[in-house]
């Protein structure tokens, strides 16, 4: 059962979007922690 071109594109596309969001989320959390003085 060969994966379709569309499914393949979706798989990679969704993964890519999540990976693009990741650094933004991490930086946001860092700033929030820093402001609260709860970095480490």
């Amino acid at each position: 059962m060969i994966i379709s071109t569309t499914a393949f594109a979706w798989l990679v596309g969704v993964a890519l979007v999540l990976t693009i969001a990741a650094p933004i989320i991490l930086l946001g959390l860092l700033i929030a922690d820093w402001k609260k003085g709860r970095l480490w």
């Binding site: 059962m1 060969i2 071109t5 393949f8 890519l16 930086l27 959390l29 929030a32 922690d33």
Partner: protein
């Protein structure tokens, strides 16, 4: 095995990049490591790490060179399910979230996973567990060291032994300087580098070749890679999931973070890190499937990632990959060095050799052991014995056999030592047998299944009634003991 005759970068560029980042990590290691004279500051970053740094360190540590190099390798060998199966390694992180919370709560002054097994199951189980844990740690260290040498050679032509030596020395250097704070601080930056690198390479690959072209070319040349019913890949799925769970549940790399995080952080950090990590093997892995579309020859499976990136993106791509994988390697190596050294110091040095060791002595011993581990790793990396994925999966049988002893030990009062010991020993044996009899892609699954059965059986045959309050222990003394109490 120097079978690559065409490296994209020249050695000089390679050396420059390595030197620049090495200087950066060492400088940061020194900076973050100020005020880490106290044992708990050095080995557990003061036990107050917050959510942002906590999430980033977990994510970055779990992104190893394996994620960036073995994921493409598995995509090339096992196809689509190979890639997705690799992503299932995130389940270990997700499932560890409740464990991290419970560990912090039950053992607020704990240092290692070894401490837990000793207190929960007694000395024999503890020693079996230590054997497995140290074997795995060494295996992971060696796979990182080897990956460094292989990657640098593939991209720049710099000989394997030089690249391997540089990476090991730099990581030992800054971990030594700053302890777990240096590790966690640099991990945050390394996390950003890893994510950015993966995104840039993937986006450029898609723009240059196109997903449809990739799909069509693979279908023509390597059709089974797109087969969702490819038997070996299906067998691989839960094997990889359980392997990841086993790695995370038992390893002091994750337990040390559970101890190092501020209370309340562990659960969310693990969940978030798991979710952020999950797509990375797919983003990194799918480029291996571009080899038919590119008409690229892959001499050895563990080189496919960097080779494809370099082919698609030329010099820029090669530089990106070098930076990204250097970051991935460093962020895992530093964690491993720190966590393994405290495991050795607490569970071997203090508990076996010097029970009266003070915190100061333990801190000093930790530093020495970090160096010692670096040297040992170097010696084991030098002969370059096997491909990366296989080396790591060899440990799969062993670590997966610890899942139930650890999880049941934490959550189930009736779990007893006999079950834990039998689970670890027989689970490992069964897994090891299936590694050779069937393939590397079933060893962890078999180990986990056998171990689980034994732990459950023993817990019903002779249920224990463990008091979890027994897991609390006191700190080592700050200075030489005076006669009498603390």
């Amino acid at each position: 095995m120097n079978i690559v005759n065409t490296a994209i970068l020249d050695p000089t560029t390679g050396w420059l990049i390595l030197a620049a980042f090495s200087a950066l990590w060492i400088a940061l290691g020194w900076y973050f490591g100020r005020n880490t004279q106290q044992l708990d500051d050095y080995v557990l970053a003061g036990r107050r790490v917050g959510l942002a740094l906590g999430t980033a360190t977990i994510m970055a540590t779990w992104v190893t060179s394996n994620t960036t190099m073995a994921a493409p390798q598995l995509a090339l060998q096992m196809g689509v399910w190979g890639m997705i199966g690799y992503s299932l390694g995130s389940v270990g992180l997700l499932m560890f979230a409740p464990l991290a919370r419970r560990i912090r709560r039950l053992m607020p002054s704990g240092y290692t996973s070894g401490d837990f097994v000793r207190l929960r199951y007694g000395n024999f189980a503890w020693r079996v567990f230590l054997l497995i844990s140290l074997f795995y740690s060494l295996g992971w260290l060696v796979s990182m060291g080897m990956a460094g040498g292989i990657l640098i050679h593939a991209l720049t032509g710099i000989p394997y032994h030089y690249g391997m030596t540089v990476i090991l020395s730099i990581c030992v250097g800054y971990t030594l300087l700053g302890g777990l704070r240096a590790v966690i601080g640099t991990d945050f930056i390394q996390a950003l580098l890893i994510l950015s690198g993966a995104v840039i390479i993937a986006v450029l690959a898609i723009r240059q070749i196109g997903l449809d072209t990739i799909h069509a070319a693979v279908l023509a040349e390597r059709p089974e890679l797109l087969n969702l019913l490819m038997p070996a890949s299906i067998m691989f799925l839960f094997n990889n999931l359980l392997f990841g769970v086993g790695e995370i549940f038992h390893s002091n790399v994750w337990w040390s973070r559970a101890f190092a995080f501020r209370e309340g952080v562990g659960f969310r950090a693990c969940l978030l890190a798991g979710l952020l990590w999950a797509p990375i093997p797919i983003v990194a892995g799918f480029i291996a499937l571009a080899t038919p579309a590119l008409g690229l020859n892959v001499p050895a499976a563990d080189m496919v990632g960097p080779m494809v990136a370099a082919q698609i993106l030329g010099t820029t791509g090669a530089v990106l990959v070098l930076i990204m994988v250097f970051a991935a390697l460093s962020s895992s190596l530093d964690s491993l060095l720190a966590a393994t050294s405290i495991l050795v110091v607490e569970d071997i040095y203090r508990r076996h050799l010097k029970p009266e060791a003070t915190a100061v002595q333990m801190r000093r011993a930790t530093a020495r052991i970090i160096v010692g581990l670096g040297i040992l790793t170097w010696i084991l990396c030098a002969p370059r014995l096997t491909t990366l994925a296989e080396l790591l999966y060899f440990t799969g049988a062993f670590v997966a056999s610890t899942i139930w002893p650890v999880a049941a030990g934490l959550f189930w009062r009736r779990a007893n030592s006999a079950g834990a010991i039998a689970g670890m020993i027989l689970g490992s044996a069964a897994g090891l047998y299936s590694y050779f009899a069937v393939g590397f892609y079933v060893a962890a699954l078999v180990g986990a299944a056998v171990s689980m059965t034994l732990v459950i059986a023993a817990s019903f045959l002779k249920p224990e009634r463990f008091d979890f309050g027994n897991l609390q222990e006191i700190h080592p003394r700050e200075s030489k003991p005076v006669s009498g109490g603390l």
